[in-house]
Symmetry: C2
Amino acid sequence: MRIALAQLNYHIGDFENNIAHIKSCIHKAKTLPADVVIFSELAVCGYPPRDFLEFDDFISKCRDGILSIAEECKDIAVIVGAPSVNPSDKGKPLYNSAYFLAEGKIQAVFHKTLLPNYDVFDEYRYFEPNRLPYAVVEYKKYKFAVTICEDIWNITDDPLYVRNPMDELILLNPDLVINIAASPFHYGQPKRRRDVLIRNAKKYKLPFFFLNHVGGQTELLFDGGSMVVNPEGNVFDEMNYFEEDLRVYNLNDFIYKDKKEYREDANTPSKIELIHDALVMGIRDYFGKMELKTAILGLSGGIDSAVTLVLAARALGSENVRAILLPSHFSSEHSKQDAIELADRLNIKHDIIEIDKAYSAFEDLLKPWFEDLPFNLTEENIQARARAVILMALSNKFGYILLNTSNKSEAAVGYGTLYGDMCGGISVLGDVYKTQVYELASWINRKKEIIPQNTIDKPPSAELRPGQKDSDSLPDYSILDKILYGYIELRKGPNELIQEGFDKEMVKRVLKLVNTSEYKRYQTPPILRVSPKAFGTGRRMPIVGKYLS
Amino acid sequence: MRIALAQLNYHIGDFENNIAHIKSCIHKAKTLPADVVIFSELAVCGYPPRDFLEFDDFISKCRDGILSIAEECKDIAVIVGAPSVNPSDKGKPLYNSAYFLAEGKIQAVFHKTLLPNYDVFDEYRYFEPNRLPYAVVEYKKYKFAVTICEDIWNITDDPLYVRNPMDELILLNPDLVINIAASPFHYGQPKRRRDVLIRNAKKYKLPFFFLNHVGGQTELLFDGGSMVVNPEGNVFDEMNYFEEDLRVYNLNDFIYKDKKEYREDANTPSKIELIHDALVMGIRDYFGKMELKTAILGLSGGIDSAVTLVLAARALGSENVRAILLPSHFSSEHSKQDAIELADRLNIKHDIIEIDKAYSAFEDLLKPWFEDLPFNLTEENIQARARAVILMALSNKFGYILLNTSNKSEAAVGYGTLYGDMCGGISVLGDVYKTQVYELASWINRKKEIIPQNTIDKPPSAELRPGQKDSDSLPDYSILDKILYGYIELRKGPNELIQEGFDKEMVKRVLKLVNTSEYKRYQTPPILRVSPKAFGTGRRMPIVGKYLS
């Protein structure tokens, strides 16, 4: 029994290309050869399809896709994910299903039991959980237990669900377990996934074949890393991260036939390398799937736009990225030099557009109303917004997409101008704390200096008033980021944080800043997700609330 | 048995005030007198608390609140909603519960079984459904069946859930059914709710006491309209819409003791009146709960900003609203006159700030890059964005909150400038189609002309280039809105719409505009929700997708 895993990058709703890609892999798998080829969860329509699932037209296209794939299944079997219609008049109208296709038709359909509905997941919004008795499918004398993503995750000491599908499936004496998944990336996820698979394999003493999505779906990034774990609980093989892959395994002896590269656990990329690679893939797929080619960004000489520029160049090619310096009379000379230096090193075309004339025009227009009121946040915001108008004008005129360069620390405490530096089509660093941005910069510079050392060394500043530094209004990032991580990622309350030794007033102030900035984050671009708790769809907070605020 | 229903407006996370408000109503109910007083679903913390529920600190504040309310329950019983902790080590950590408090302590806790997880609802994200055997609580010789919102909604011919709690509760021979709810408004909801209650009362031959939230929670509006339905399925009484209310009913004879106003079904406000009142409440509560007082908006002379201005004046008082005219050389003289006329009629202070100097500054700055490229969308967007910079500067300097004036038709097809006219703290008309905006204007003008007739009569125009009209680039709104309603509210696909007689090319074009504008809507302000399917949290679509696009 030779099993092929096809780790592919799908495009949500693009049935024509998804199905063509699946079929071409079926043909390729036949030549390897393979007896069965496995595709991931909801492969036919892409994951997550969100409310497209509420359209009958969309569902019937999924069904047509499955039937058309089934026709290719001669001399080979296929396991592939797609929604299926709940035939009962009770419960939600759909299941999240895995189809077993062979001999030109549907042989069996399995429904997902455990529907993740936390963080970025909304599966119970669309799907009825499986309530049918479990079954295995027999093919070429082997009994397959087919599970879908979360179905094998209820194995922790604090189970989220009352039911554990594997405990029921094991009673049917399967020979192997297939898990088709759409398990999105965060920097801790590769290890968690491996742990879950190893726990399962050891507990049930079966080989587990785990097949994941790969690719960016707006903010959700899928890292691939599909893997095979043997019944002793050893990782037999792990597929590529952040790119497509197709490999075949012989069930009998786990002899790996089509090996290009073997990742030992020890070779797993470091956290910061994973984040780097995920962000590059996220930019590339955002542009590629939107059929966009070129990016623009405001290059300030600071660390955030510098790191964003490097990532964009790696994702899109230097020739497809345009850097604009937008200095005002508050901008320091070294910032301009650092920015130009970086653009030159990356071979990126840069332009300089001085914003003072636009700023003065607004100042003049508003003079009759502002009279002699002192310079304050208003004037800082006018500068940031004038920059946004210019960047968006270039974007509109030439078709560039504006990359947002805000980091997670800023986004958390609302240290940014709505409709100013918070603009953009996609936020590259919005899930990367400032201290992690520095780590990314070091990692980028690990072999040779790409980002000017001065950009890394100088104290962060928005340069919106003379001599301004971030530290004028924010705690030191090394402390701020720890408090934010405790509050955002770990959901610790003020008392827990204070008990850990953080200053009481600082904790209160930071949590208040986070909670009262919700209205700003609501209007920011989608943020490439690399942490277990990113701003955006995975973190849903009231805007009008009064809690720790 | 005298039952008081306390229909209150809560503030999410504001435990101190929510609890004080509940206690003061308990005291008031004692004087009526009442034997039991009912508060709504998750009253203690406000609804929807969203991810605050993931914080132990938040949950313990809910628990403390319940205990402190229980202490007031002497000589009176209370039913009140709050989360409770799931004691099992399996399943989600919380229940959505109703507490029965009497004699100074918790007598019983009932958990919600049916957890809505569609449209704006995310309850399965947080809560474990009740799996315990049902129970009733006996108080003063009456058996109370206590249900929570959705628990009585599974009574349609196409039930969404496999279980129906009332079918099990009825076996325990209750004397009455209490339903505490947080049932958000849309214009069709009052009728739907009445139908569901009547169906239940008739089926189970019991009196139903339905108690709803009232008030705005950012985009979610709760209309109140709590009601009592007798066992024959007649609506005995319906409480006020869009305002707090406290009434007491004698269970034995349904004699209504504290009547100010009795709404027959026939007196139910019309759809457009409901929308009007909901929007006014939504603005008022957004500002009130954010502790904000004053609003600003750009008044163009067009219908959208005119209607928004009237609604804002009604919500906040004319003295708290500021209208800014921001004409360019493309603005027509009649637009300015209409805008001034309206502001004067409403006694609203207006100012005129000509944007041409700001526009020219950007034109000059960009000249070296744009050279002789023709005027296009870019220049239109610069005008809209220059206006936004000015409005936001006034907002920042003086503490006004910018009201967004975009309508649902525009938002649907992406006819608006991101970071320009799509800015604002809250969108007032973003769930109101253009044709409904006209209906609102007529309703506002029904007794005397408030909005200048010329604003209503003239063809809609963004006035961003000479002689521009909306109809240059969009289908007539009377047709466009029907296609949008079919696609957005009714989830009809292209084939269904074409079969209904809409032009094939127009349907394709409109659906493509909707789907490819997702990236714009992602970054817009929260939209006051008045329809069954508003943009925002209740409609979750992929940004990077390829479906009907």
